[in-house]
């Protein structure tokens, strides 16, 4: 099964091993800063999520305080999760991936942790601003426009590091994950800055601001989170099971069709809305064409995994990443269908959309990020996770919790939409119908939060090196003794 037991030319073996250790070591400070921050925001975002969820079915809960009113807690939750948890876990992962793929040390070991601090302060500023009543009231970008400068600076450092590592790479080949990551780091700043310009200056006006809003929001999902998520899946599945990606040709096709079609899907958020029909139709076309990259990626990942699903039993990373990859396929298919007018007529404006959104940002992206952190952290800190039991708790609570979340709100939202389209049904009857399902969402949320607390506990113990000590990356040296280590490999 493994060829590590075959003898290798010692010099080459030593050099390769040292390089990977040095690569991982160079990432330690930066990535650990970003991951720690991400876990912090995951907890903050989960608390805000539970608060928002409870307030929906029990509106009197903590209703006396203006800064905790539902209309502020909900966007604060969004900001903490998107710009805090999601983006920081994403940045940590993308930096490590790029170092591994270019086989270079991560540069700027002092500057990068500084960017993590700046990023944290920016997110904190944004969340506090929303709760204090300074929300811009534009979905996905409620945080003040001045944050563009701060995020822009951090991304500039990321771009500089990426280009530097790429230019001095030793391999002629550029792995598929690298394309996605290059895409992400250039798309995000351009999107964020131009969105702030369109939304807060006369560059766009009136109803067009809504188009700009959803061009931005949908593209943050598709051109920032999705590429980072897919890059991670493309690297980790082959790495964990020891099999190369099934079809490299397919992955090429998948990347460019994503880049072309995803960009145009944004206006499907405005179907039936007060914008020119051609604009809405273009969005629907882009959304349906997304079948191509999504099927491509799904086939590729599935055929890579086929015959190897039994590894899910022994690899935490694989569990989270495969769950995430499957949900990527599911949420994208659902999204393409949802953009058809006949479906949209029912699902628009309902809890169905919320379930769909969480299938994307949570079941796909967040689960993949969990998988990435499970793989990367031991390699940076030279320590194993301290408890397999807690990992299992984390996986099952989040996997089952997310499934319950999606099932409850999808059913509730669909019925809600059907009833809304029947004018004989009084509006408040529809509201009454949804309430038990909103309770089920809170229950699912509690389950998921337990998972997050377990994860934070595991991560805290990882930082304190409570797990078994390993002289090298996980599993690498288990056939060797500590004496055989090259110099500098330990710690």
């Amino acid at each position: 099964m493994t060829s590590a037991s075959q003898p290798l030319p010692p010099a080459q073996d030593e050099r390769e091993r040292l390089t990977r250790i040095q690569i991982d070591r160079s990432c330690r400070q930066t990535v650990v800063w970003y991951y720690s921050s991400a876990v912090f925001w995951l907890l903050v975002g989960s608390a805000l999520a539970l608060l928002a969820s409870i307030k929906m079915h029990s509106p009197g809960f903590l209703a006396g305080w203006e800064w905790l009113t539902f209309g502020r807690v909900r966007p604060a939750h969004l900001a903490a999760m998107i710009y805090g948890w999601g983006s920081m876990a994403g940045v940590g992962t993308l930096l490590w991936l790029q170092a591994r793929l270019t086989r270079n040390r991560l540069p700027f070991p002092t500057l990068f942790p500084a960017t993590a601090i700046i990023w944290n302060l920016t997110v904190a500023f944004g969340v506090v601003a929303i709760l204090a009543g300074y929300s811009t009231s534009i979905e996905w970008i409620e945080i003040p426009p001045s944050t563009a400068i701060l995020f822009g600076f951090c991304i500039a450092v990321i771009i500089a590091a990426s280009i530097r590592m790429f230019r001095s790479r030793e391999s002629r080949h550029t792995y598929v994950s690298q394309w996605y990551l290059f895409g992400a780091i250039f798309w995000f700043p351009l999107l964020y800055v131009s969105a702030q310009i369109f939304l807060h200056t006369p560059a766009a006006a009136g109803a067009v601001k809504a188009a700009a809003n959803w061009w931005f929001a949908h593209n943050v999902l598709g051109l920032w989170f999705t590429p980072i998520g897919l890059a991670t899946v493309y690297y980790l599945i082959p790495k964990v099971i020891g099999r190369p990606v099934h079809s490299y040709h397919l992955s090429l096709l998948g990347f460019w069709t994503l880049a072309i079609f995803y960009n145009w899907a944004g206006t499907h958020h405005l179907i039936g809305g007060p914008l020119p029909a051609w604009l809405i139709t273009v969005g629907i076309v882009g959304s349906v064409m997304m079948f191509i990259p999504v099927v491509t990626v799904a086939v590729n990942h599935h055929l890579t995994m086929v015959g190897h699903f039994h590894h899910l039993r022994h690899s935490p990373t694989l569990r989270f990443v495969v769950y995430g990859a499957m949900c990527y396929t599911a949420v994208s298919f659902q999204g393409s269908l949802q953009s058809l007018r006949s479906v949209n007529e029912i699902s628009h404006f309902t809890h169905y959309t919320i379930a769909h959104a969480h299938l994307g940002v949570y079941a796909f992206f967040t689960m993949v990020m969990f998988g990435a952190i499970y793989y990367v952290a031991p390699r940076l800190l030279n320590a194993e996770w301290h408890s397999a039991g807690w990992i299992r708790v984390h996986f099952w609570t989040t996997a089952v919790g997310m499934a319950l979340y999606w099932l409850g709100l999808t059913w509730a939202g669909w019925e809600q939409g059907r009833m809304m389209n029947d004018p004989r049904i009084p509006f408040l009857d529809i509201v009454r119908f949804t309430v038990p399902w909103l309770w089920s969402r809170s229950a699912a949320g509690v389950l998921m939060t337990i998972g997050h607390i377990s994860f934070a506990w595991l991560f805290w113990n990882m930082l304190r090196r409570r797990g078994a000590w390993l002289p090298g990356p996980t599993l690498l040296f288990w056939k060797r003794s500590p004496e055989s280590l090259p110099e500098g490999a330990a710690e």
């Binding site: 099964m1 493994t2 060829s3 590590a4 290798l8 080459q12 073996d13 390769e16 091993r17 990977r20 591994r100 793929l101 391999s171 080949h173 550029t174 792995y175 598929v176 690297y235 082959p238 790495k239 964990v240 099971i241 020891g242 099999r243 190369p244 990606v245 490299y248 040709h249 090429l252 590894h311 022994h314 690899s315 935490p316 990373t317 694989l318 499970y374 793989y375 320590a383 194993e384 996770w385 301290h386 408890s387 397999a388 990992i391 090196r465 797990g467 078994a468 000590w469 390993l470 990356p473 996980t474 599993l475 690498l476 040296f477 288990w478 056939k479 060797r480 003794s481």
Partner: protein, 67 residues
Amino acid sequence: MAAFYLALWGLAAVLGATAIAALVWSIRRGEFDNLREAALSIFDEDEPPGAITDAFPARHPRSSRRP
């Protein structure tokens, strides 16, 4: 304002055309050959194809608790 839009449409057209030209150029240059090698580029001597590189903790016979 018209000049602004013209510049932007122009830029979009130029970039689009460049993208297509770049695609044709790169196919001609053989960038799309040898993709199998690219797929294998994430492996190396110590983590070769076939090596499993992840497991739940406490499955390693030789790892020891930190002193």
